[in-house]
């Protein structure tokens, strides 16, 4: 029997998801043994025309990482969708929008202004901005259109499953790959990770007091957090209560709080709203009867850029998707 064909593709992402595949270490050999990789721009020399030449549905699974923000990315994922039996949104950016999704607090014009004119590291005296068409002599050079809004993969094409994480950890990837190879997949649209909150599996949860109270907000650089205490107890915002587990608690073990890359659990519609709700509930809870409205404002105002913090990984997948323009 022919091996199932597999494709990998990247859109608006950092390349970390590609490394996550390589991070499978020896396990990647098992994957390569079981499948035939037919398209993987970062590692192999297949072209778009090779994909176009395939029959519809010929690729068994496409793993697509990155959010969608350009015309080219949209075209490629639509092509891969047509050619694939299953499409897996791989990693935070394809799943939720991820870090590139923070661009939805801006738009194309403001991003171009900043990146090509204002940043201290740029020398652009003529103020040239990227254009979709440029005349050079009698030739015309083209670039793909850059959209105002970054989208998640499922806002552009139909997605069968999601592998979360920035980047997805090896065990989550291997479990997903095994489930696909063995045909043991859950209901379509599932996130292939546990449906528990991070606090549930947090190594610090045993020492957590019964009631957590945040007396005040501290930013991670302001203190050296105790490596055994719950971050919230120390005043550091951790999105563990609102975030899906399965990441292996890498950040927590490196003494850094959760920033939400696995996205929310199944029931949650808006990850950021849940995160802010959880934090606001325990902030100043000890003396809550005594706090005036001004006291509350003072406490909460210590959170710099709440929109950016609570929607760090999930802005394009949130209810509002972007800032008003």
């Amino acid at each position: 029997m022919a091996k199932p064909k597999v494709a990998f593709y990247w859109c608006a992402s950092c390349g970390g998801c590609e490394e996550a595949v390589v991070d499978l270490a020896e396990d990647i050999l098992k994957v390569v043994e079981a499948v035939d990789i037919v398209f993987w721009p970062v590692a192999m020399d297949f072209k778009k025309k090779d994909v176009e030449a395939m029959k519809d549905g010929e690729i068994a699974v496409s793993f697509i990482n990155g959010a969608v923000r350009t015309e080219e990315q949209e075209e490629m994922v639509k092509l891969l969708r047509r050619k694939s039996g299953l499409v897996i949104a791989f990693g935070s950016c394809a799943h939720l929008g991820g870090i590139p999704g923070l661009a939805n607090f801006w738009n194309r014009d403001t991003i171009f202004e900043r990146v090509y004119k204002e940043v201290p590291s740029i020398a652009n005296p003529k103020g040239v901005l990227p254009k979709t068409k440029t005349k050079v002599g009698d030739m015309e050079l083209t670039l793909p259109e850059f959209w105002d809004t970054v989208r998640t993969l499922d806002q552009v094409i139909d997605v069968d499953y999601y592998i979360p994480g920035c980047a997805p950890p090896p065990d989550i990837i291997m479990n997903a790959v095994s489930a696909i190879l063995e045909g043991k997949l859950p209901e379509k649209g599932s996130v292939l990770a546990p449906d528990k909150s991070l606090c549930d599996t947090c190594p610090r949860s045993e020492k957590k007091p019964e009631k957590i109270s945040m007396k005040e907000i501290k930013r991670p650089y302001e203190i050296i957090p105790d490596s055994e205490k719950c971050f919230l107890e120390e005043g550091i915002i951790c999105l563990g209560p609102a975030t899906r587990s399965g990441c292996g608690e890498k950040c927590i073990n490196a003494n850094m709080p959760c920033r939400g890359c696995f996205g929310p659990t199944k029931e949650v519609i808006d990850h950021g709203a849940k995160g802010l709700s959880a934090i606001a509930s325990i902030l100043g809870i000890e003396d809550e009867e005594k706090l005036s409205e001004e006291d509350v404002q003072k406490l909460v105002d210590k959170i710099v850029d709440p929109a950016g913090l609570f929607y760090m990984y999930s802005l394009p997948s949130s209810l509002l998707r972007r800032k008003k323009i």
Binding site: K274, L276, A280, L283, I285, I303, L319
Partner: protein, 137 residues
Amino acid sequence: MKDDKLTIVSFLCNWCSYEGADKAGNARLNYPANVRVVRVMCSGRVDPEFVIQAFKEGASGVLILGCHPGDCHYKKGNYKTLRRIYLLKRTLEGFGIEPERVRLDWVAAGEGERFAKVANEMVKTIEKLGPLELSEV
């Protein structure tokens, strides 16, 4: 209100503010029909998701009314609401949504007049801001 397309979704706690609205009705006090009432058991039940969902579905303002501090039927629900809604307003600013579009206030069961006053003020505020036009995405 002139523009009856402007919708203000209001979440009223069962024990104080909903009773207050009822009092306003009994006393035949006027408030504009733009204010649409949703009864919840406690203002603390108002998940920030509800507020955002209301905006997403076309509301131009959201009004949350609960018992006065110290009077919460569940003792401390409204304290949490106070912190939660303030943080939500700060967060919505990042989305370009004016914080005035969300108002949290306290109306006791006997305060029919206060309910009508707050509802009228809210409608005026939203009238001034105009409809919330979210970007098409």
